[in-house]
Amino acid sequence: MPDVILAAMRLHLEEVLVVGAALFSIGLYLALSKRNAIGILMGVELMLNAVNVTLLAFARFIESPRPLDGQVFATFVITIAAAEAAVALALAVAIYRHRETVNIDEIDVLRW
Amino acid sequence: MILALLALVTDKRLALVTDHWWDIRDLSNLTDAVYDILRDDLNVPDWGIWVLSGLLGTIGIISFIGGVAIINIWVERRVVGRMQSRLGPNRLGPFGLLQPVADAIKLMQKEVLQPKVADGLVFTLAPIAFTVPGIALFAVIPWGRNMVLADLDVGIVYLFAMSSLAALAVFIGGYGSNNKYALFGSMRVIAMLVTYEIPIVLSLLGVVLFAGTMNLQGIVLFSEEHWVLMVMLQPLAFLIYFLSSSAELNRTPADLAEAESEIAGGYHVEYSGMKFGLYYAAELINAVAVSAIIATVFLGGWWMYKVDEIVPGWMILIGKIYAVYFIFVWTRGTLPRFRIDQLLAFAWKWMTPMAIINILVVATEVMIWEETGWSAAVILPASIVINGALTGLLIVGWVRTMAPNFQRFPDRLRMYSTIDVPSLPAQAADLRETTA
C-alpha cells in the first residue's frame, strides 16, 4: 500500500460519533416502526448502545480533568439498560398472557 | 525431546531458565529469536511482527486444544470405566489408546441428517457458536512467565463473558432443530447456565480481592510472590467454583441436558455425524478450558514452588490441567444426577449465599491487611486458618440448617423425598372432611 494512503488514515473523534449516530438512527427506526413489542425493545437497546459508543469516544478523545468519567457513565448505562430490558420483557410476557398478542397495533385499549 | 530436557536440567550451568533460544522452558525465547531475525535482517514492519506473534500463539493454542480433545475422549471413557469396576475401551491399540481415532472416523463417516423444517443456517451455526467461546477462553491463560497470548487487565471478566456467550449458542442449537423437545431441553439448560453464573462470578471475586488484580498472570505472580497457593487461602471459593462450573459444563452430576435416559439428548437430539462430533468436542474443550482456569487461578498456574525453574512451566500447567480434569471425571463416575429443581435450589439456596459469605470474610481480611500494614507472613497464614475453619463450619452448619432430615444411612429405604403435591379441589375437600 502506498505510504500516502497509509499516512492519511487517522481516526478522529467525529468519525466515531458518526458511527454512533448511525447506530442510533437504526435503533430509532426499529423503535418506531416494528410491530412486535420485542422488536421495539431491540431498537431501544440499540439506541442505548449507540449512546455508550458516543460516551466512550468522548472519554477517549476530549480534554478533561477526569477522563474516565465517560466509562463510569457507560457502565451505569449498561446496568440500567439491563434492568429496563428485564422489566420491559416481563411486561411483554404479562400482556401476552392477557391478550394472546404482543402486536402493538392490537394493544390499544388506552388509546383515544 | 526428553533427552534434550534431561541434558538441560542436569547441566549445572543451565539448571535455571535461561535466555538461549533453544531453551524450551520459556518458549518466548524461541519466538523472540524469530522476531529478531525478521525485524533486523528481513525488515518486516512492526505490524507484521504483531500479526505473526498473534498467529503463532493461536496456532500453539489450537494445536494444544486439538491434541487435548483427542486424548480426553480416551481419558474419560477409560477412567470412568475403571472407576465403575469395568474395563474401559481396551481393544484398539494398547490400553485402548486408539479409541479416539475410531470415534473420530465413526463420526466422520456418518450421514449428517438435517430435518427439512429445521432452520438451515441457524442449525449449522449452532455447534460453531458453541465451540468458539470455548477456544477463546484459552487466550488469557498464562503458560509461562512471558507466555500469554492476550495479557488482558480484565482477564477474569473476559472469562465470564465467554462462558455467557456459550449460553446463547445453546439456545441457537435448541431453536434451530425445530423440535419441541430440543427447545425444552435447551431452555432448561439455559436456565441452569444463567443460574450458575452467579456463584462462579462471586467465587472468583474472592480470588480477585486477594490478588488485587484481574489479570491472570498477576494472580499467578501473587502466588509466586507470597509462596502460597490460592486453593489454600480460599478452599470455599475453590469448592464453589468447581461445583458451579461442573454445572456450567453440563457434566454429571448436573448433566440433565444430555442425559440420554431423560430427555433423549436435549438440545442435540437432531444432530448427527460430524455436527454432533463438534458439539461433543466443544464440551470437552470447554471442560479443559475450565480446568485450565482452575489450574491457573487456584492451583498456581505455571508456578510450582521453584520447580518451574527447572521443569518447563507449560508442562507443569498441563499436568495441573489434567489433575483437575481427572477430578472432573472422578465426580462424573461417582455421583448420581440431580433433578432440575434440585439443581436450581442448590444454586440459589446453597452456592450463592455461601459465596456471598465467602466474599464478606475475604474482604474483611484484605481490608485488615491493607489498613494495618502487617506483613503477608502474618496475614496469610491467619487467613488460611480462618478460611479453612470457615469452610468446614459453613458447610456443616448449612447442611444442618437447610436439610435437617438428611440421613447418611437411611433407616427406611425411599426412592424419593417428600414433595408437596397440590391436590385437586375435590380431593382437598375430601381430605379436609376426613381429617377434620
Binding site: 488514515m9 481516526l11 473523534l13 467525529e14 458518526v18 458511527v19 449516530a21 448511525a22 447506530l23 442510533f24 438512527s25 437504526i26 427506526y29 418506531l32 416502526s33 416494528k34 410491530r35 412486535n36 420485542i38 422488536g39 431491540m42 440499540l46 448502545n49 455508550n52 459508543v53 466512550l56 477517549r60 476530549i62 468519567d69 466509562q71 463510569v72 457507560a74 457502565t75 449498561i78 446496568t79 434492568a83 428485564a86 420483557l89 416481563a90 411483554a92 410476557v93 401476552y96 398472557r97 398478542t101 402486536n103 402493538i104 397495533d105 | 505490524w47 504483531w50 487487565d153 480484565v154 471478566v157 465470564f160 463473558a161 455467557s164 456467550l165 446463547l168 431452555m187 439455559i190 444463567v194
Partner: protein, 169 residues
Amino acid sequence: MIEDNAIVIAFWSLSATTIVCALMVAAVRNLVHSVLFLALTFVGVAGIYIVLSADFVAVVQVLIYAGAVGVLMTFAIMLTPGADRLNASTVFQAPAFVLGVMVFLLIAWVAYDTEWRISDREAFTTTAASLGEAFLKPYIVPFEVASVLLATAMIGAIILSRAERDDRA
C-alpha cells in the same frame, strides 16, 4: 486522534460489521434471526469499545448484553408462542425511516461542525482499577442507587411474570 494504522483498520472493519448487523436486525423476516443479529451487533459494539481503549466496559458489554439481555429476549420470544414471528413493520415505517435519516444527518452535522477540545493523551492503560476507585469515591451514591434499582427491577420482573393462580383463596 489515533494514528496507528492497525487500529484504524480494526475500527472501520468492526464498525462496518456492526452497522450491517444492525441493518439486518431491521431487515430480516424472522424475529428469532433478528434477535441473533442483535446479539452479533452487541459483540461488534464491544469491539468498538476496545478500539476506544475501554477494555472493562467491553467485556462487561459482552457479558451483560450478549450473554444476558440477548438470552432474555430469546426467552421472551419463546414465552410468547402465539404471537407472530414475522418482524413486520407498522404503518409508520416510511416516516420512521425519514426521521432516522434526518436524525443521523443532524448528529453528523453537529459532530463535524463543533470545535472539540481534543486532547493528545495516550490511550488508557489500566481502566479497571481506576473505574473501581471512581465507583467507590466520587460516584458512590449512583452506585448504591443502581444496586437498589437492579433489586427493584428483579422483584418487579418476577411479580409481573408470575402465573396467576386461580385457586388463591
